[in-house]
Symmetry: C2
Amino acid sequence: MKKVHIIGLGLLGGSFALAVKKALPGWELTGFDQNPEHLNTAFEMGLIGKKLETPDADTSLVVVATPVDTLYSLIDKTLAQVGPGTLVLDFGSTKDELCQKMSSHPKRAQYLAVHPIAGTENSGPKAAEVNLFDGKVLIICEMDKTDVHLKGLAYEVFEAVNMKLRFMDPVDHDLHLAFVSHLSHISSFVLGKTVLDKTKDEKNIFDMAGSGFASTVRLAKSSPDMWAPIFFENKKNVLEALDSYIHHLSLFRQLIADGDEKGLNQEMKEANKIRDILDLKD
Amino acid sequence: MKKVHIIGLGLLGGSFALAVKKALPGWELTGFDQNPEHLNTAFEMGLIGKKLETPDADTSLVVVATPVDTLYSLIDKTLAQVGPGTLVLDFGSTKDELCQKMSSHPKRAQYLAVHPIAGTENSGPKAAEVNLFDGKVLIICEMDKTDVHLKGLAYEVFEAVNMKLRFMDPVDHDLHLAFVSHLSHISSFVLGKTVLDKTKDEKNIFDMAGSGFASTVRLAKSSPDMWAPIFFENKKNVLEALDSYIHHLSLFRQLIADGDEKGLNQEMKEANKIRDILDLKD
């Protein structure tokens, strides 16, 4: 019987626990969360079979699913606690800084840098969903730096929970994620803030908000504790993406101000191409 | 048997036809679309029972569901064709300019200005959905200016298709819609454009786009033919909303650039309040 230990029993850690439990029913799940309430909830929900601050030395896999600014110290601490047969991985949404810090770690071969492209706007153990990872992409960075036997076991688990593996350089990962994920969180947070600021004391105007607004602003419900560290850790790329977004918004603004029908239609038709790309994914 | 005539058999017109057909099965549905392909598709799908360029003079209700820049001339033309017992209404997303133009129309009492808060990113008759209007808000402007008997019939139809009526001044309508609808379309169009521009020739990076990106960028699939006229007709309010959005984005950018954890958390926590408001609507 193999053991999996999960640190951070929120949306991602909790969902991974549910997926492993379903896909690999013989395996033992232990876990920890620094929030005692979350830890108890996770245990009561059956996400883990045992609450454990320190993973057993013979644990096969430790997953660290906490905010990105806590990852290095938790990985470092965990590698000191476990035996040579344990693989430690993290689910962080930024990979470059962490991989750089890990590059000189004496136990680098026992670490695997991954990022599951999965999530919702909800957080905490109650937000866990058994199918959150099902069919989703898992990006793996610097795979060569991980011991071949240890990562073999990890691949087995990812396959069991039905994830699609993609391999990528951490620098490219962080740049692309700034555009396709971090930027859309910012656009949504700021859309929510803009509308709330304008409509103070007029809650009834939300009667006028349709499903389009709800969809666009959905990510504004996301956890600040999770997202602030991502924006700071990926600052360079996030600022590049945000500057480009503001630049494009200003161009769009000018086309409206100028009454430039042809130009505005052209911009929107180009944006429409996102349909083909998103449809490809379905 | 009452007759309803629909001009513009796209997403809204087509969905309204389906809803009326279901809720009021005895009624006769006629309609027209200037796109011959859409007109034929709508007829073949059974959205309308008869293709008719000019509504019969004894039609009870004519719905104009075309881009906002075409509404006044179509309403004006239709009022000249129908008898005194016909009510004409439009589904436009901007109301102020149209109500102003209509204010001096000799048949003003036969017109009702409404806006259903319903839609999807799709367009054309094939996008029609029978339940699109079910339980949704319908905003009615300047209700006093419409003949009491004629609007009584319209309210009967709206009730039959299960819409919630709200009454509002057209100036307020256009301002609020700029924030809760038009702005989210712009934020989404421009997000799509920004990401596409960055990721040209790298289609595979959309592997890295999760459900969050898909949700935020969904409205970028919307029809330019429908949306360009809305942005131009509501230019003043749209520019105010867009300037406020760009201003808030610049503030958010500065907080990231400065590494201001406390300030960034505060901004995101305030944006999180959108959850309570959206949840109220469910």
